[in-house]
């Protein structure tokens, strides 16, 4: 199993009563809440924690894109990723660089995404794992002005452009609905050819799952809503669609983001982390109003009907703004405890649901540097070794991981990528 550190870059010093005074974490006023020292250390410590994880032997380090938000100050993850690519390369650390990543439903400059990822792959010597989320409503539609009904078709078109830009040998003209380029011929191209295998991020939309399976991409599930509530629904759905599509249940095509906190004992873990976890979820995802997650037009009408009928994919979301530590634990939003508690719970979960890439969120919310480092180190030394061999002997190979890091990429150029544009946001 591949084990990575995934972090966001939250502002770590918001006042305790933030939720009482602010509607949302994605229209938060800046100057009245932020100090120069606070923003510098929030960013610097996040970067240091990612580098520390690389030195501790994690298989990858990852971040993602969220603009204009206090819970993740990451308007372009490629800035972080490029710094990490060079730093790890210069220290000789064989670790995957994982922007999880650049949102293609949001991007109005998709060619720049192709160029940035190609640069990171070159800088890192071929260690890029390339993620492409569709994009959250507040980010794609509000922060970047994309009409919600265009988010999905724009994602489809942009992904097609990125993949062609990476691999087409001759310059070509791109006449898209959302962007037009007289010439596409980017320099440099990714070292990994015909391009790193894409990873798509999803929260349960069956259409997204089907797309990743049909096109042989990786799939990252982000478990903010509580994996004990949503996991069975989501993972069962994914593997059932895999059966329908007719691809093997290879765990390496599945990635799972989980918030985890480890200390010497269960009691100590609660003492160390409970307040920081409450901060992370109340002032983070709990402070993204529903209309920040989805806007009219962004979800197909059938999807809206399905959500109204059964909002189960959203787990604890509606209560997240006031969630207690105990509720977060009970819903599986977080896994907290001694090394043995944590490895047992995660091992069971990953085995049951066929997860071959575990993205551990070990820094979160207001957690300060020293505790984050402790969490990372304990996980690396006391938990990871017990999980790493989970799928050894399963007969599956990792086709979605860089070759330089032991992956076995399929060198296919006959990408079956042909989006049906007019039906592009049919769920």
């Amino acid at each position: 199993m591949k084990i990575t550190l995934f972090e966001q870059a939250p502002y770590r010093y918001l006042p305790a009563d933030f939720e009482q005074h602010h509607r949302s974490a994605c229209d938060t006023p800046y100057f009245s809440l932020v100090s120069r020292e606070g923003v510098y250390s929030s960013m610097r410590d996040c970067m240091d924690e990612l580098m520390f994880a690389a030195r501790c032997g994690f298989d990858g380090i990852g971040i993602t894109e969220h603009g204009q938000s206090s819970y993740d100050m990451m308007p372009n993850p490629d800035l972080f990723a490029s710094a990490l690519a060079y730093s790890t390369e210069s220290e000789g650390l064989d670790v995957a660089i994982i922007p999880m990543g650049r949102s293609l439903g949001k991007s109005r400059e998709p060619l720049r995404v192709a160029e940035e990822y190609a640069m990171i792959d070159v800088l890192s010597g071929g260690r890029l794992v390339a993620g492409f989320p569709v994009g959250l409503a507040y980010d794609a539609n509000v922060n970047n002005g994309v009409p919600p009904i265009q988010t999905r078709p724009r994602f489809d078109e942009n992904l097609e452009l990125v993949l062609r830009a990476w691999r087409d040998p001759e310059p070509f003209t791109w006449n898209g609905k959302y962007s037009q380029y007289p010439q596409v011929n980017i320099w440099p191209r990714p070292l990994q050819q015909p391009g790193p295998r894409p990873w798509i991020t999803g929260v349960g939309n069956p259409r997204t799952m089907q797309l990743t399976l049909e096109r042989d991409y990786g799939f990252n599930y982000v478990s903010w809503f509580g994996a004990k509530l949503t996991g069975k629904r989501i993972f069962d759905r994914f593997w059932e669609i895999a059966d329908q599509v007719g691809v093997p249940r290879n765990p390496y095509r599945m990635g799972f983001v989980q918030t985890i906190a480890v200390a010497e004992t269960d009691e100590r873990a609660e003492q160390d982390y409970a307040a920081h976890l409450e901060y992370a979820f109340r002032k983070g995802i709990g402070s993204i109003p529903r209309e920040g997650m989805m806007l009219p037009g962004g979800i197909d009408i059938r999807g809206v009907q399905a959500l109204l009928k059964d909002p189960g994919d959203f787990g604890l979301y509606e209560r997240m703004r006031t969630a207690t530590f105990r509720e977060l634990v009970d819903a599986g939003v977080v896994i907290v405890g001694s090394p043995s508690t944590v490895r047992e719970q995660i091992g069971e979960f990953c085995t049951e649901y066929g997860i071959g890439n575990l993205h551990c969120m070990l820094g979160f919310g207001s957690l300060l540097r020293d505790l984050a480092m402790k969490n990372i180190q304990l996980f690396a030394e006391e938990v990871a070794p017990y999980l790493r061999r989970l799928w050894d002997g399963s007969g599956h190979e990792h086709h979605w991981w860089p070759e330089r890091l032991g992956g076995v990429p399929r060198r296919t150029t006959d990408d079956p990528y042909r989006p049906a544009r007019e039906e592009a946001n049919v769920r």
Binding site: V142, G145, P296, G297, I299
Partner: protein, 275 residues
Amino acid sequence: MTMLDNTPQISQEAVDLWGGRLTMRVNVAGAGAPLLYLHPAGGLAWDPFLSQLATRYTVYAPELPGTSAGDPYAIHAVDELSDLVLVYEELVRRLGLERPVLVGQSFGGMLAAELAALYPGITEKLVLLDPLGLWREDAPIANPIAAAPHELPGMLFHDPAGAAARAFLEPPADPEVAAAATAAMVWALGCAGKFLWPVFDRGLRNRGHRITAATLIVWGEQDTLIPAAYAAEFQALIPDSQVVLVPECGHIPQVEQLEHTSAAVAEFLSARGAT
């Protein structure tokens, strides 16, 4: 409910256009000269205002592509606002309407103004009810598409607790029907959003001077979605135009102050020698 008793017989016509890529559904009622009504972003709701118009006119109320039941993906056949205006112009010709009175509410008001600006000969009488289409830095328009559901009543009505507002906002009793109606409204907002997002200014200010029709601009004085200051803005833009401000009224004058609005519209249409 007594007003609903006056609802006329409404028939539906399916009109093929846009090179065979679209079938638009048009609700037709009443008798007399033609009147084309363009609905707001939330979709078409046949209301007493339309019923009253149908006593004097043949009212044609088309449904925005994508908002007709059973045909949600029709929206994908139209990409740009300019194409949408062409679709409606084609519709007028396919229906064989000769200079219909043009009435539009909110998003429909913006569409009606665009249609009258691009095709000045299409109508001689234009009625705009709290239309979208212009933008003032000092009076930003609220975004109902991005609003939380609980914010909508206050955006749409001066008195959300009043009888007219409650009747308008009351969800259907059957939960299944209510869920379907909610999904349909959410999708309708998404379809209209395609031609509005992200800032509700698609350049009408550059084109509005081309409108030659006599124009009535009706505005709810307490409209919090599009402040009534925009009424004067439209009046300044459209050469032959006049304004009626409706007191005690929010964004939907024909619902919140039906009598006042109907009377103002009727007076305007008859004073101009309604056919």
